[in-house]
C-alpha cells in the first residue's frame, strides 16, 4: 500500500519519474514552444503529488493557487451542491490539465477535482509562475502567451456553441 506522505516526500529521488515528468510537461499546451532547457527550468517549480483513489485534489469553492496536470491515473471534475449530489463535468486522464484559470485570477474553484484512481499529479502554481517571470522573463512570457492562446481558443469554442444554440432557436 502506497503512503501519500512518503510518496510525495521521496518523489524526486526517482530518476525515471523525472524523465517521465519532463515528457509529460513537453506535451502540455501551456508549455509548448519551450526548449528542453526551459522545460527543465519549469520542472524545478513543478510539484509532484500522489493522490489515492477518492481523495480530493481540491474542493469546490476553495481558494485556488494553480493548475494541475494528470501524469498517471484519472481525475473527475465535478460540481457538488448542498444536498451532496454530484455532477461530473469532465473526466481527466493522462496528459490532461485542469484549474489553469486560477493562474490568472484568484477566485474560488468553481468545481471540485477528485481522484477516481490512484493518481500522480503535477502541480504548477501562480506564485511560482510570478517568480519565474521575474527570474526568467522569456520562459514566463512563453507560458503566459500559451495560456492566453488556450483561453482564447476556449472563448472561441464557447462563442461557437452559443451561436449554434442561437441558430437552433
Amino acid at each position: 500500500m502506497k503512503n501519500p506522505i512518503w510518496e510525495n516526500l521521496f518523489r524526486n529521488w526517482n530518476q525515471s519519474e523525472e524523465k517521465q515528468t519532463l515528457n509529460t510537461l513537453k506535451n502540455i499546451p501551456i508549455f509548448y514552444n519551450l526548449q528542453t532547457a526551459e522545460i527543465k527550468e519549469v520542472k524545478k517549480l513543478i510539484h509532484n503529488r500522489f493522490y489515492k483513489k477518492d481523495e480530493y485534489i481540491f474542493q469546490q469553492n476553495a481558494l485556488g493557487v494553480g493548475m494541475y496536470i494528470v501524469q498517471k491515473g484519472k481525475v473527475n471534475i465535478q460540481l457538488e451542491d448542498k444536498n451532496n449530489s454530484k455532477l461530473v463535468l469532465a473526466e481527466m486522464k493522462e496528459g490532461d490539465f485542469f484549474g489553469e484559470m486560477t493562474i490568472l485570477d484568484e477566485k474560488p474553484r468553481s468545481a471540485a477535482a477528485i481522484a477516481t484512481t490512484d493518481c500522480s499529479i503535477l502541480g504548477f502554481f501562480k506564485p511560482d509562475l510570478m517568480s519565474l517571470l521575474k527570474r526568467k522573463p522569456i520562459i514566463g512570457s512563453k507560458i503566459l502567451y500559451n495560456l492566453t492562446k488556450i483561453i482564447a481558443q476556449r472563448l472561441q469554442n464557447t462563442y461557437a456553441k452559443l451561436k449554434a444554440v442561437q441558430n437552433e432557436k
Binding site: P4, N8, I57, K134
Partner: protein, 215 residues
C-alpha cells in the same frame, strides 16, 4: 480507534522529539542560530537575487554580486565607524596636555595621602618602596597576553561564524526553490493548497517586513 492511536503515536513522537531537543540543544544552539540568521538573510536578499537573475540570466552570478555588494557596504560602514572612532581617540589624546595631566595626577595622589590618618600615611611611606615593580609589570604583561589570546580566539570564532553564515546563505539562495519544494512536499494532500498559500504569503510578508526594517 485507529485515528486515536495515530494521534497518540504522533503525540509520543512529539514528546520524544522535545526531550531529545532539550538534551542536544546546548550542542547545537550555535548551529541553529546560524541557520536562523541564514534564513533571515536569504529572505532579505532573495528579491534582489531574483531581480538580478532576470537581468543577467545567471543565478550564481546574481548571488555573488548581491552578496559581495552587501559585504562591501557592510565593510564600508564598519571601516567608516572604526576610522571615526580612532579619529576621536587621537583628537581626545591631543587635547590632553601631558604636563598638566601629570601634575594633576600627582596633586591628586599627594592630596589623597595627606588626607589619610597618620598611621596610614606612615604605612604608605614604608610600603611603597618595598613594592616589586618588575614583578608587577610582568604580571600585568601576562594578564594582557592572556586577554589578547582570549580576544584572538573570540575573533577567530566570530570569523568562523561569519564565513559559515555567508557560505550557507549563498547555498540557500542558490537552492532556494528546491528547498522550498522539499518543504512543500511534506504537506499532506488535504492541506496542500492551503499550506502552499500560507507559505507563499508568509514568505512575502516576512521578506517585505525584514526589507523594510533593514531600510
Amino acid at each position: 480507534m485507529k485515528n486515536e492511536l495515530i494521534k497518540l503515536y504522533r503525540l509520543f513522537l512529539l514528546i520524544l522529539l522535545a526531550i531529545v531537543l532539550y538534551f542536544i540543544w546546548p550542542y547545537i544552539d550555535n548551529l541553529i542560530y546560524i541557520l536562523a540568521l541564514v534564513f533571515l538573510l536569504t529572505t532579505i536578499l532573495l528579491p534582489a537575487v531574483d531581480w538580478l537573475e532576470g537581468k543577467i540570466h545567471s543565478r550564481i552570478a546574481a548571488i555573488i554580486i548581491v552578496v559581495l555588494t552587501v559585504l562591501l557596504v557592510l565593510g564600508f560602514f564598519l571601516v567608516l565607524f572604526v576610522m571615526q572612532l580612532s579619529d576621536e581617540a587621537v583628537q581626545f589624546s591631543k587635547n590632553i596636555d601631558p604636563q598638566i595631566f601629570n601634575t594633576t595626577l600627582n596633586s591628586i595622589s599627594s592630596g589623597t595621602i595627606e588626607k589619610l590618618p597618620d598611621f596610614m600615611q606612615q604605612f604608605f611611606q614604608e610600603q611603597i618602596p618595598k613594592i616589586n615593580i618588575s614583578q608587577k609589570i610582568a604580571d600585568f604583561a601576562k594578564s594582557v597576553i592572556s586577554q589578547l589570546l582570549l580576544l584572538a580566539s573570540q575573533i577567530g570564532s566570530m570569523l568562523f561564524h561569519f564565513f559559515m553564515t555567508i557560505i550557507l546563505t549563498v547555498i540557500l539562495l542558490f537552492e532556494y526553490y528546491n528547498f522550498k519544494k522539499t518543504i512543500v512536499n511534506i504537506l499532506p494532500n488535504k492541506y496542500f493548497e492551503t499550506g502552499l498559500q500560507l507559505i507563499y504569503k508568509i514568505e512575502k510578508q516576512v521578506s517585505r517586513y525584514l526589507g523594510g526594517q533593514l531600510m
